[in-house]
Amino acid sequence: MSEKLAENIGSREIAPKVNEFKRFRRVFLSRGLVVFGMVVILIFIIIAIFAPVLSPYDPYLPDLKDRLSQPSPKHLLGTDSVGRDTLSRIIHGTRTSLMIGLIVVGVAAVIGMTLGMVAGYLGGWLHTIIMRSVDVLMTFPMILLALVIAAMLGEGIRNVIIALTVGLMPVYTRLMCGQVLALKENEYILAERAIGASNLRIMIRHLIPNALPTLIVVMTMMLGTTVLAEAGLSFLGIGIEPPTPAWGSMVNDGREYLLTHPILSFAPGLAIMLLVFAFNMVGDGLRDALDPRLRGLL
């Protein structure tokens, strides 16, 4: 009798087993806007991959006979000042924006987090040098930093990527450093060290997996920021060379014909907004599902 009772109490104290993935899926998909964001991102990715198939015209091909035409069944969003199809240029611009966004966020994350990890874990003079450099870089607004770097390096997509990466990196470094500083106080890190684990092993096996949820959330949010910054640069006419379709420069080109052809500026801007909105919503959803403590901080 008493044994059974003890068994019952014992079994009641074991927490019900929760399938982490199911919990993640339930929280993540519980908000309509998050699902909407996922769908929008998927559509944009498909558009970017199949751009040549999906666009009705060559985005580079001028048609001087058909310049500045209003939206019509032939050109759904009209044509620009040299007769290029606006819809086709927006479709190809998806490639530019997504490619730059993904590369910049990825590269900045890898370099920035490595630096942050080194600064946070090893500490000492490395911490001082890395974090003071981060402080200095962060005194310049990202767009100004990218503007100066892009001007230093000259035109081209590669240089825009470098400029935006340098602008974004400090954010990751500071975040990762903070994460690692908090994580390394945990007792399991001490235990690892007691059994003779190397620093590299502790970093790869423990610090990275524990910091990862936060970093995934931040990376998603930064995709939106990067797309906005890239659009801002190309709006100012810096970086991407003119014939390459880019949403920001399309908004700028359309300004000249704003009174008669507002669609030339409106449509690409709407595309930027939709993509950034989708990234932000998915970022919000990931935050709630992966790391609710970040609520309010990001």
Binding site: V148, M152, G269, L297
Partner: protein, 318 residues
């Protein structure tokens, strides 16, 4: 508190010194020889070695780079930011003529953004889940998404070209014609404040929601305090730290936005000068503007740090 403030000021000075180093050396490694650009700009001049050397000497570009740096810093303390390579006029004249314009536009955006954003976020938190919360939160989510230059173009189309209510671009000093100045500023200020406004609203909402669930708020309710006292004195003061952090970051955001928005609305401030001088590689201007931006952002961070210490005494001894 005093030793806390002094420590913070020293850190700010160190970062400022590092920033001057970065600005100076980044500009020196710019590709494109500014001297050659100057020569091509003045076609009438004879293009020969001697003349180039003399020009380099005039601009102090033939000295060792460290000497150049210390000369540059020394000159700055005397209010001399060098001479523009293209216009050959003192950089400081142009900078100090444009600085008040940028401060006017950016300052309005900062103040109005926070005056609306903080109460909006607080109202959302108090009325969580009600229609007002839904509307404001949705607007805020759109606000952190919209590209400011595109918003500028759209406002220009609707209110400038279509309805013809507002002038589409330009800047007039408020001391000259206050009404005209205000009308010209409405659109650029909206474009600049939209991102910080949306951000601070979201932040104020979520940090208020956090605080409103705390035990001491329940205690305050059960003591029978009025809602206004609870919200402002007990909740807002404790939820203020993340809001202040974001306000500090908004300074950099608004300055960055100014670079684009001043270009869109043709406002003769420092932002537009930054873009045009980056393009023309007139590096004394870029140097001076970057330096002003660094000082503004570092100063904002210093204020934020001191505010932390004031809001939360624990931080002073951290």
């Amino acid at each position: 508190m005093l030793s806390f403030i002094i420590r913070r000021i020293m850190l700010a000075v160190i970062i400022l010194i590092l920033a001057t180093l970065l600005v100076f050396f980044a500009m020196r490694f710019l590709p494109g020889d500014p001297i050659l650009m100057l020569v091509t700009a003045n076609q009438q001049q004879e293009f020969n070695e001697e003349y180039l050397l003399e020009l380099k000497h005039q601009h102090g570009l033939d000295k060792p780079i460290l000497v150049q740096y210390f000369n540059w810093v020394g000159d700055i303390f005397r209010g001399d930011f060098g001479i523009s390579i293209l216009t050959e006029r003192p950089v400081s004249d142009e900078i100090f003529r444009r600085l008040p314009i940028s401060i006017h536009v950016a300052g309005l955006a900062f103040v109005i953004g926070h005056l609306i954003g903080i109460p909006a976020g607080v109202i959302c938190a108090i009325r969580r889940g009600k229609w007002l919360d839904t509307v404001i939160t949705t607007l805020a989510n759109i606000g952190i998404t919209v590209p400011n230059f595109w918003l500028g173009v759209i406002l220009m189309y609707i209110f400038g070209l279509y309805l013809k209510w507002l002038p589409i671009m330009g800047y007039t000093s408020p001391f000259e014609d206050f009404w005209m100045s205000t009308k010209q500023l409405i659109m650029p200020v909206i474009c600049l404040l939209i991102f910080p406004l949306a951000g601070v609203t979201r932040q104020a909402r979520s940090s208020m929601l956090d605080v409103l669930h705390q035990d001491y708020i329940r205690t305050a309710w059960s003591k029978g305090l009025r809602e206004r006292v609870i919200v402002i004195k007990h909740a807002l003061k404790n939820g203020l730290i993340p809001i202040v952090t974001l306000a500090g970051m908004a300074v950099a955001t608004i300055i960055g936005g100014g670079v684009i928005i001043e270009t869109v609305f043709n406002i003769p401030g420092l932002g537009r000068l930054a873009v045009s001088s980056v393009i023309s590689q007139d590096y004394p201007y870029v140097q001076a503007i970057s330096l002003f931006v660094a000082v503004a952002v570092i100063f904002a961070n210093l204020i934020v740090d001191v505010a932390y210490g004031w809001i939360d005494p624990r931080i002073r001894y951290g």
